[in-house]
């Protein structure tokens, strides 16, 4: 198993990303209850204050919402919202990086398109 938490980035951001992944992959459908802060803390061996920070980040973005006295739930439309956000990140993290590496190796734009085509056929 890949390291659950990497120590070079804020952990609350990683917790938020985990929840987002779960929402995208359907593990947490809309209106499903999200594990409690203490459950996150126990599972990932992290400080509960840190886990709360990650959950609250998604509350601020309207991806989760709080039911008083019950817990946190996935908001309606959360999946679409997360996917839109991830698409932008995908461009920055993968596309830009790929183009830069291609330049370094002298791969032309046409060749790159070609490669993407080939990669797509292999799926």
């Amino acid at each position: 198993m890949k390291n659950l938490i990497d120590d070079g980035r804020p952990i609350f951001v990683q917790i938020a990303e985990r929840i987002e992944d779960d929402i995208i992959e359907g593990g947490l459908p809309e209106e499903a209850q999200v594990p409690s802060t203490n459950q996150f803390a126990a599972f990932y061996k992290i400080n509960p204050a840190t886990a709360a920070k990650g959950v609250n980040l998604l509350v601020d973005e309207g991806i989760l919402y709080k039911k008083r006295g019950i817990g946190m739930f996935v908001a309606g439309g959360a999946r679409t919202k997360v996917i839109e956000k991830r698409k932008e990140q995908f461009f920055d993290e993968y596309v830009v990086t790929m183009i830069r590496e291609a330049e370094k190796l002298g791969i032309t734009a046409d060749q790159l398109m070609d490669m993407i085509q080939r990669g797509d056929n292999k799926r």
Partner: protein, 298 residues
């Protein structure tokens, strides 16, 4: 939030040696603190003053709002587990637990018994006859089961294997969630405990050089690697804490700028970016080779 410890301009000198130099900080209730730094940085001296085992040379020290010296009110709320805890020669583990029960008002007998099982400790064996790791485990059991409002672990893991250390961290977290309290963990194994910590204090040469939220610190630095000339150009005007040349390459660790655009600037100039773990950051900041040791934590 209420402060559990308040320290103002604390100094401790031995003859001409300044063990603690003009140190000020405040610890809030119910957080887990990491007290980090190299050997001889002053961590143990600081903890001994907090627990009233030695006197400061000057400065102000308040624990639970009061001076800790000969103050039963304060001391009954503190559990301090030292690296080399001493017990009377004839004690067995059960005796140590019974004494702890009488000292610590919040002592939980059931919890102590389940910890004894977890760590496979022989209750009737004399403490003198225990292995180094078992001795450390006894300290950990007492520290956890005391549920003291201020619990301090000073390198509690000597001789403990990785499995037992993991058990310690697990039990600490599980119990902390149920019974929040202020915990100070002084350790060199930063990578192991990093994710448990909410706030970090780093001592270097008797001075407090970092007093910051752990999450802020985790995103604080990054490493850039690339052609030396490109890296040098990137480093202009930035706070560099570490540099390591390798052939024509240079790898440098820098502190994030305020506006946060520096990573994009680095990728734009074709430099490779890698994250810096808390442990690496602390090592760089306390290795004595850094160009600028005082980190601006504002």
């Amino acid at each position: 939030m209420k402060n559990v410890i308040e320290v103002k301009q604390l100094n401790k000198s031995y003859e001409k040696f300044n063990a603690i130099h003009d140190t000020s900080f405040a610890l809030q209730a119910n957080k887990i603190y990491g007290l980090l730094g190299r050997n001889g940085a002053g961590k143990t001296t600081l903890m001994k003053m907090i627990t009233a085992q030695i006197f400061p040379t000057s400065g102000d020290l308040k624990v639970f709002g009061e001076g800790p010296y000969e103050n039963a009110n304060v001391l009954s709320q503190i559990c301090f587990i030292k690296e080399s805890q001493k017990y009377p020669d004839h004690y067995n583990i059960l005796d140590a637990l019974d004494v702890s029960k009488s000292i610590f008002p919040n002592w939980d007998v059931n919890f102590s018994r389940s910890l004894i099982k977890d760590f496979n400790l022989p209750l009737k064996r004399r403490i003198k006859k225990l292995s180094r790791g078992m001795l450390s485990a006894v300290g950990i059991v007492i520290g956890l089961a005391s549920r003291a409002p201020l619990t301090i672990f000073d390198e509690p893991y000597l001789g403990l294997d990785a499995v037992s250390r993991g058990l310690f961290y697990d039990r600490l977290m599980e119990d902390y969630v149920e019974h929040p309290r202020t915990v100070i963990l002084s350790t060199h194994l930063i990578d192991e405990v990093s994710s448990l910590l909410e706030h970090i204090l780093v001592m270097d040469n008797g001075k407090l050089i970092i007093d910051q939220d752990a999450e802020e610190l985790r995103g604080k630095a990054f490493t850039v690697t690339g052609q030396a000339s490109k890296v040098e150009a990137f480093l202009i005007g930035k706070e560099t804490v570490h540099r390591e040349p390798f052939g024509g390459l240079l790898s440098a660790t820098v502190i994030h700028s305020e506006n946060g655009s520096d990573q994009k600037q680095a990728t734009a100039s074709g430099l490779e970016i890698s994250p810096v773990s808390l442990q690496q950051l602390v090592v760089h900041l306390t290795s004595g080779r850094s160009e600028q040791k005082e980190v601006n934590t504002k």
